[in-house]
């Protein structure tokens, strides 16, 4: 179903905002990349859906496929590195479609001339480790080396494929459904931002980057068909994921801000930078929409898993204000907006 939200025409020049995961990026995909491409028959999911991956029918089962290019500055950050990110990002996108048993990954690498071999070895050690955690491996790849200055160090693209009996979209919410988040939000975004800006914080921030297909598998086992929508709140954070789910499902969401788990250190860093942890990337979390009847069972299953200990029920779907996310702050209410443009720290 087409998103409810209005998209602007794409500008003459592609600026950084088109990569920020918000409305601008959706406009770019809809108006250029998905124009005349990506149609899928037979009840599958194609490019226009802008879901976490595509779904193609194979007999009575479904093939899920997704791809993701990874660039991150710095390449090593507290809690992970570009290699772990490249595996987790793709494995998690598959899991968000309900495909928690990745068959295999591909890995295409573009390296800048002069890149240190030792650094590549460290990054690939972490790719191996993340594959081990996700229960998958890299089966084919591609390698390019470009001249100095022609790219910034390293770009890693991974593609993942998986077969599943049942897939989950991001638009299946109905009024009365409950929303769950599988753990604390804002960890990755603020850890990277703090590292990038060499913020001398007295608090420990670490990215949550991890493959969570095992966690999602546990939730699906407990919730079955009662899990009706999933999304990983990566770029744009929890706010964008919720807005997208609300818009595509045509329901309103009421979120209890105090129920959203945020680590104290993340909250503090966010206040310092003037950046809302709800707007920044997570790399090891999922937002799930579930029927009320299975909400407690799913929550319990999530909390039993080591990666889901901080899982929480954060809100409910309503039939009013379709497409809107209403945040109950404890003091009052406001609409939760999406991240738009580049996130910039405030001056005061």
């Amino acid at each position: 179903m087409r998103d409810l939200r209005f998209l602007r025409p794409v500008d003459e020049r592609i600026t950084l905002k088109y990569g920020a995961g918000g409305r601008a990026m959706r406009a770019l995909i809809e108006q250029i990349f998905a124009d005349g491409l990506g149609e899928v028959d037979d009840g599958g999911v194609g490019l226009a859906a802008m879901d976490d991956g595509a779904v193609l029918r194979i007999g009575d089962r479904w093939l899920v496929i997704t791809t993701d290019s990874h660039v991150v500055q710095p390449r090593f950050f507290p809690g992970g590195d570009i290699g772990r990110l490249a595996v987790a990002g793709t494995v998690n996108d598959l899991a968000m479609m309900g495909a928690t048993e990745p068959l295999a990954l591909t890995c295409a690498t573009i390296v800048e001339e002069g890149f240190a071999r030792e650094e590549l070895e460290r990054i690939w050690a972490s790719i191996r480790q993340a594959c081990l955690e996700a229960g998958t491996t890299v089966v084919t790849g591609d390698t390019k080396v470009m001249g100095r200055g022609e790219l910034d160090g390293l770009v890693i693209n991974t593609t993942g494929v998986a077969i599943t009996d049942r897939f989950v979209r991001d638009n299946g919410l109905r009024p009365g459904d409950r929303l769950l988040v599988t753990g604390t939000v804002g960890d990755h975004g603020l850890a990277v931002m703090a590292t990038r800006n060499e913020l001398a914080l007295e608090v420990e921030l670490a990215s949550d980057v991890a493959p969570i297909n095992g966690l999602v598998r546990a939730a699906l086992a407990a919730g079955g068909d009662g899990i009706v929508a999933m999304k990983d709140p990566t770029r744009g954070g929890l706010a964008s994921a919720l807005a997208e789910m609300a818009g595509k499902s045509r329901v309103g969401l009421v979120i209890d801000e105090r129920a959203v788990p945020v680590k104290d250190a993340v909250r503090a860093a966010g206040e310092l930078l003037g950046i809302d942890p709800l707007l920044v990337a997570n790399e090891g979390k999922a937002v799930m929409g579930v029927r009320a009847a299975v909400a407690d069972a799913v929550l319990e299953a999530l909390r039993r898993h080591p990666l889901g200990r901080d899982a929480a029920l954060i809100g409910v779907c309503i039939d009013e204000r379709p497409g809107a996310v209403v945040l109950e702050t404890g003091f009052g209410r406001r609409l939760l907006g999406e991240a738009e443009g580049e996130l910039q720290p405030r001056i005061c």
Binding site: R23, L273, V316, E320, G330, F331, Q344, C348
Partner: protein, 383 residues
């Protein structure tokens, strides 16, 4: 502030008690008049707190809290942005705060200039810009914005003697004079002002006494936690109801009468007030801060010839003529009165400066939904 303090000022139970007190005083204040009680805050951080915690949903009917010209990025005028853009296009490397990047100039913003190849670095503080300059063999201009709070940091850096390749393009502004302008605007309905607690830590609350004496309206200094804002509003409306014009300090844990004299000394040792335009407001006598002659060698305006004419082969975007930032910042119009709001003007393609900064009125309304009435939402309508 430790975590416990933060919690103390974010206690929803106390917030409800304050909201009740606010409703009580608004009723009292309105007994004499049928129109709503209108107060203005002059600080983006107040608007941020009000919006972020959804406080407007708890304000009583009959109270209008108007956001005044309290965002330093928003009031940075077109010619000031043009100067930075012109320097950047001349090949000079620029460092500035993140939210200055998208402030529209006549033809371009710094973000546009950067997309076209100019070198613009985003920094979190002026000291970060100084460090960057030390690591470079070329000139670095810091495009400085902010009110007296931020200007003190700039002044301290100047006094410390920054490297020779470092200079400052000051767009610093000084708040007290613009309050005079707003108070004297014809047709103003403002009956009281909520003053910014952080600026008052520098100036002291005493700085507002001459203002109160001249205009006969109360001023209350308030902090930025939700309870601070509510308590400040309660005090302000109480003064209005009692017909008392005086300065009250609702932020005593940080602010005293005389402020931080050391910081004031630093500020006025480096800067002098000068008249200048604030975007959309007016010419504000003594509203801008310029570097004193003693520090001319760190003043980018005196170090470089800034070729503004080079910008003018671009026609100004026609949309700007419809922008109502000025009236919105002056509290005369609301974002919904603007035909561009949310359509041609959005955070990812801002027309006016109020949409640029996270502290801008239009940006905050866009981000947080402005003032939609969310009181009627029913949870779990059906299940």
């Amino acid at each position: 502030m430790n975590d416990l303090d933060a919690l103390r000022f974010r206690d929803p139970v106390r917030a409800r008690a304050l909201a009740d007190a606010l409703a009580h005083h608004v009723r009292r204040a309105r007994r004499a008049a049928d129109r709503p009680v209108a107060v203005m805050h002059v600080c983006g951080s107040h608007e941020q707190a009000i919006a972020r915690f959804g406080l407007r949903a708890t304000f009583p009917e009959g109270l209008e809290v108007i956001m005044g010209p309290g965002c330093p990025v928003c009031v940075t005028d077109v010619p000031e942005v043009d100067e930075a853009v012109a320097l950047a296009r001349q090949g000079v490397r620029i460092a500035t705060y993140g939210d200055m990047l998208r402030v529209p100039g006549t033809a371009q913003s710094l973000a546009d200039a950067r997309a076209a190849g100019a070198r613009v670095d985003v920094v979190y503080s002026i000291s970060q810009a100084v460090e960057l300059a030390r690591s470079l063999d070329e000139e670095l201009v810091f495009f400085a914005s902010g009110f007296e709070t931020t200007a003190v940091a700039t002044a301290a850096v100047v006094l410390a003697g920054p490297p020779a390749n470092f200079s400052i393009l000051s767009a610093h502004k000084y708040i007290p004079p613009v309050m005079e302008i707003v108070a004297e605007m014809p047709g103003t309905r403002i009956e009281g002002f909520l003053a910014a607690g952080h600026a008052a830590t520098i100036t002291g609350w005493g700085v507002f006494e001459p203002f109160v004496a001249r205009h006969g309206v109360p001023v209350v200094v308030a902090g930025f936690e939700p309870l601070d804002v509510l308590a400040g509003l309660v005090r302000l409306v109480e003064l209005i109801a009692d017909g008392v014009a005086r300065v009250d300090n609702a932020y005593p844990r940080c602010v005293d009468q005389h402020g931080n004299r050391a910081a004031q000394a630093v500020l006025w040792k480096v800067f002098a007030p000068i008249g200048g335009r604030w975007r959309g407001i007016a010419h504000v006598p003594n509203g801008n801060l310029r570097l004193l002659d003693t520090y001319a060698r760190w003043d980018a305006r005196r170090r470089f010839t800034i070729d503004l004419a080079a910008l003018w082969d671009h026609a100004p975007p026609a949309l700007v003529q419809h922008c109502q930032c000025g009236d919105i910042m002056a509290g005369i119009a609301s974002p919904h009165d603007c035909t561009l709001f949310g359509k041609a003007c959005t955070p990812d393609a801002p027309v006016g400066a109020c949409m640029v900064s996270t502290e801008g009125t239009c940006r905050i309304w866009h981000q947080y939904g402005g003032q939609p009435d969310l009181r009627s939402i029913r949870r779990g309508a059906r299940s």
